[in-house]
Symmetry: C2
Subunit: 192 residues, 2 copies
């Protein structure tokens, strides 16, 4: 069991680092095979089809994201600090890893050509993240820690859009610091 799950995890981990570079059609079982040191047929044993693999990959990513956001809510009391910590997480990702990106943001762009079950996972991630942000904005407004320019939902959607757009800009410019440069003023603007 240890062996199985570790192998499957190796495959998932490798697939994630491959997919994050260019999305669903940018990697193959052969690519994974070379890195993990396993035959492509053996990957099919763990994940019968590519859509199975990517769905599992996104599901795992979503669990990690959900855990992280829940943890953030527990460990950081202030709503504004929660947003700061969320952006800080991604800023550190871009600083530490060359090809960092939210895989759901990346896959969202490819939705028209994605297998339906993968697209559903991506859609669900956007909804959950928007829900979480909405809650933060609601509490922040209630506590007078940040000021809304519209509804909490609208502000949350805009915040999420700016974050994802900043990831695209960071990639386009080939500049890891661009993400922070774009998102930091965002916090200053909404701070009460």
């Amino acid at each position: 069991m240890n062996t199985q799950s570790s192998r499957a995890d190796d495959i998932l981990h490798c697939a994630r680092s491959l997919i994050v570079r260019g999305g669903y059609n940018s990697f193959s079982y052969a690519d994974i095979s070379k890195v993990v040191g396993i035959r492509t047929a053996s990957i099919h044993h763990h994940f019968p089809s590519k859509s199975d693999l990517v769905r599992a990959l996104v599901a795992q990513y979503r669990r990690e994201a959900a855990d992280g956001l829940a943890q953030l809510k527990l460990s950081v009391p202030d709503p504004l600090d929660q947003l700061r910590a969320y952006l800080g997480y991604w800023e550190r990702c871009f600083a530490d890893m060359a090809d960092s990106f939210c895989i759901c943001a990346l896959l969202a762009g490819e939705i028209p050509v994605l297998p339906e079950d993968v697209a559903m996972e991506v859609r669900a991630h956007f909804r959950r993240l928007a829900d979480w942000l909405t809650e933060v904005f609601e509490r922040g407004a209630a506590q007078g820690r940040l000021r809304l320019s519209g509804t909490a939902r609208a502000d949350a959607e805009m915040f999420m859009a700016t974050t994802h757009g900043a990831m695209l800009s960071a990639r386009a410019y080939g500049d890891a610091t661009a993400f922070g440069a774009i998102t930091r003023p965002l916090l200053e603007r909404i701070a009460a």
Copy 2:
């Protein structure tokens, strides 16, 4: 010459509508062949390699964008109205076409796996668009028509990021109206 350019244009037009759905690796010469009614070998006659085709495609897109933005500056005097018109253009795109998207925003996500010359075109689009927006924000601030929350450049970068992120959200939600819902409050916030 008429025939050549019309054929090449057919190919470019078709490739654009294919690439906009899922990026560089989501379409093939065979796909174009089926739609345009030409053999794949004949596509190679017009565009020797796929990167040539996509580079030409993005270059054409950039010319159109530059023309559109220049035209906008001439026909609409007010900076705030210029931003409104820019967002309105994309809002109409999403309303009219199912799989609408800025191909440069889409390709930006795939930059690590893109041919270098294509990546350069994408990068250039981001810079030019940010330059144009910066100028609009500068004039808007000077005329007291809109208020900056940081430098004109920072506000322009954030505006662009939010716009691109809103495109991703529209796709993720599968909701054409999402783009407008996210970006409209953006204008209200920066209006003086």
